[in-house]
């Protein structure tokens, strides 16, 4: 029974132009679910861990999960899995919209792109038909304009994924955009696409639903239970729709954990100006939703007369407090620029924040800045440097576009970079919220909040309230959140469903759609397996135990101001507890752990 998988993968070699159709290994799919899990397993088995991420030898996998496109809540997700040029480790960037569902409806579980095209190319998919077309005329185009142009050419029913100028130039923080304002944002996946001279993928599909569900009645019943849970929960039924993720600005500031001026402070006096409440009052046009999503957390806003996707909490913080800026309109504009150039709207502003601290400390001089000094809160600097990072020309442009870790290393101040594994950390100070620091330090893709969102129990009280300052129980919580997240990602659901849904709901949906008969424990073990195969990819890629770390600032500099003043991260205490919970020694799984998880192929590696 192929339930919810079309058992078809397209392998496209851009160097030769060859397009092969391969059969999905169903047993492997069940063992890794799909999406993030299966994509990583394929890359690991094909030896991608040791290649240069921007060489033709790297592979770029666009992959759906079994639930992608299913008639179940929040199933518009697909993932881009590759070796990251930013971190040199595994990348899996997840995006919503409708593109992923259309890829699935066209009958493809995944597209594997290899090689490098001799000239700029885009892929056009219409159900079974896949063709490579000339993309020369779209070079230099902004992402939204290219989306419009390709829809004009291929029809309004087409869904478009593309890279903007940043990806073309292989900027290490380049994102892949789809459906205009949705982004597979992190870890520089857009640079890998650019390195292959692949500008876009257009998808059209005849299907309007999955027609291969294993047990349609069981899926209907599981979906009804999931919807009941989502609608009974005030966060997923109305909270996110009303104020989006932006509501967090005021919450996190009020717990004294809103990193400010590159984490030199953790309470921003002007947070109200850049808050979700201010966004709703001044710029919100309406809530927006990805495909089949009842939560509708998206913000459709008016930016200087242009109706477009608005900033999430992360860019509000990163372009706001973290750069000492309280001009909300400029944040909206910079967020739009990130979407247009195809940039990671977390890493880019965090790199600008690091550069502002380098400027504050005299490492970057005014004369280096080509007329736009990197002063705290300078709105001109935020706009101009975002453009420069998106289309770099000068030496400093290129340095900035390589991310904060390389930038700060260049100036001999590596600890100014607030990053883990060379990827910038997101908007929660791990000194004030202890559990999130464990997930930052041990995230396989580097600094990240969606690899185990400990903010949910530590701040939001979901599913229960934990003391954010406590350390004794956080390691096991962190591991459990990481494992469940790996399952949700791999299935093709949006992670936000987990504000209300638990492991039982996901297990029921998965079993109904795919015809498996997993227990909740088995599903969580799959999540554990996925986390471990990612870790083994990183080990093969050269990761060292010391890469599971937090910047020294979080361990040695107590929070300077606000309600969490005086706190530091207790990672030296919690990290060994975490490794014990995982069955790891010195950051890597023991052979016993690998065997227990059915990863025998990794034993001894």
């Amino acid at each position: 029974m192929s339930g919810a998988y079309y058992e078809k993968i397209a392998r496209i070699n851009l160097s030769t132009g060859e397009i092969k159709v391969e059969k999905l290994d169903l047993e492997l799919a069940h063992k890794f679910i799909g999406g993030r899990g299966l994509g990583t397993k394929i890359l690991y088995d094909e030896g991608v861990a040791t290649v240069d991420p921007l060489s033709p030898e790297n592979k770029l996998i666009y992959i759906t999960g079994p639930m992608t496109g299913a008639n179940a809540p929040s199933t518009g997700r697909y993932m881009v899995v590759t070796k990251s040029p930013l971190t040199g480790m595994i990348a899996c960037s997840n995006s919503g919209g409708i593109w992923g569902a259309k890829l699935k409806y066209a009958g493809w579980d995944a597209i594997i792109v290899e090689g490098e095209a001799p000239k700029w190319t885009y892929i056009n998919i219409e159900d079974d038909k896949i063709e490579l077309l000339d993309a020369q005329e779209y070079l230099g185009m902004m992402s939204e304009a290219m989306d419009t142009a390709l829809k004009e050419k291929h029809g309004a029913e087409a869904s478009v994924l593309n890279i903007g100028p940043a990806g073309e130039k292989k900027v290490l923080m380049a994102a892949i955009m789809n459906d205009k304002d949705r982004a597979a944002g992190r870890s520089g996946v857009g640079a890998v696409m650019g390195s292959k001279k692949l500008k876009a993928i257009v998808v059209k599909a005849s299907r309007r639903n999955l027609d291969n569900i294993a047990d349609v009645d069981a899926l209907k019943a599981a979906t009804k239970r999931a919807m009941d849970v989502l609608m009974a929960n005030p966060v997923t039924s109305s909270g996110l729709r009303q104020l989006g993720t932006a509501i967090l600005v005021n919450i996190i500031n009020n717990v004294g954990s809103l990193p400010t001026r590159n984490w030199q402070e953790s309470y921003f006096e002007k947070a109200e100006d850049i808050s979700g409440e201010a966004l709703a009052e001044k710029y919100l046009v309406k809530a927006g939703a990805c495909y089949r999503c009842p939560i509708a957390c998206g913000r459709i806003i008016n930016v200087n007369g242009h109706i477009t996707g608005g900033p999430e909490y992360e860019p509000l913080w990163a372009y706001g407090a973290n750069c000492g800026n309280n001009d909300l309109n400029v944040i909206d504009e910079c967020n739009m620029l990130c979407n247009e150039y195809g940039l990671d709207a977390i890493s880019v502003p965090c790199t600008i924040a690091a550069a502002m601290e380098l400027y504050q400390r005299g490492a970057i001089k005014e004369e280096d800045c080509a007329g736009v000094p990197l002063e705290w809160g300078s709105t001109k600097a935020l706009v101009e440097w975002t453009k420069r990072i998106g289309n770099p020309e000068t030496e400093l442009d290129w340095l900035m576009s390589s991310g904060s870790a390389r930038l700060c290393e260049h100036y001999g101040m590596p600890e100014i970079s607030m990053s883990v594994k060379k990827q910038e950390m997101p908007a929660y100070d791990a000194r004030g919220i202890q559990g999130i620091g464990i997930t930052y330090a041990t995230s396989n893709r580097g600094g990240c909040h969606v690899r185990g969102y400990m903010i949910s129990p530590e701040v939001l009280g979901l599913p229960q309230q934990l003391d954010r300052t406590a350390t004794d129980d956080k390691a096991v919580w962190a591991k459990t959140f990481q494992d469940l997240t790996a399952v949700i990602d791999s299935m093709g659901h949006c992670l936000f469903t987990s504000f209300a849904m638990g492991a039982q709901e996901y297990t029921d949906l998965l079993n109904a759609a795919t015809g498996t008969n997993h227990s909740v424990e088995e599903v969580l073990e799959i999540g554990d397996r996925i986390y471990n195969i990612e870790r083994m990819f990183n080990k093969a890629a050269g990761m060292k135990p010391e890469d599971d770390r937090l910047p020294k600032r979080l361990l040695e500099e107590p929070i300077a101001n606000g309600p969490s003043k005086g706190m530091v991260s207790q990672l030296p205490l919690t990290l060994p507890q975490y490794y014990e919970a995982r069955g790891w020694v010195n950051a890597f799984p023991t052979d016993e752990t690998l065997k227990k998880l059915g990863l025998d192929e990794c034993v001894g590696k």
Binding site: L240, L248, V255, E277, V459, F496
Partner: protein, 73 residues
């Protein structure tokens, strides 16, 4: 005095921030009653940045922050 900060939908029909006399409001519950907010409407209750229940005792100079059910990431 106690500073009470209201957020998101709790601002509807109320001020963003109000000052109350600590002598008249010994607990957070007293503040909620005064503002006509049911405990079930509040999902995050912070006193000086730390999560508390409505029974929490208040002192002069405290900052109380009240949020309805919200999520994000």
């Amino acid at each position: 005095m106690i500073e009470v900060r209201l957020f998101a939908t709790l601002r509807q029909g109320r001020e963003k921030s109000i000052m109350l006399d600590s002598k008249e409001f010994p607990t957070a519950k007293d503040v909620l009653d005064h503002l006509d907010i049911l405990p079930g409407e509040v999902s995050i209750l912070l006193v000086n940045g730390f999560h508390k229940t409505p029974e929490a005792q208040l002192e002069d100079g405290d900052v109380v922050a009240l949020f309805p059910p919200v999520g994000g990431g």
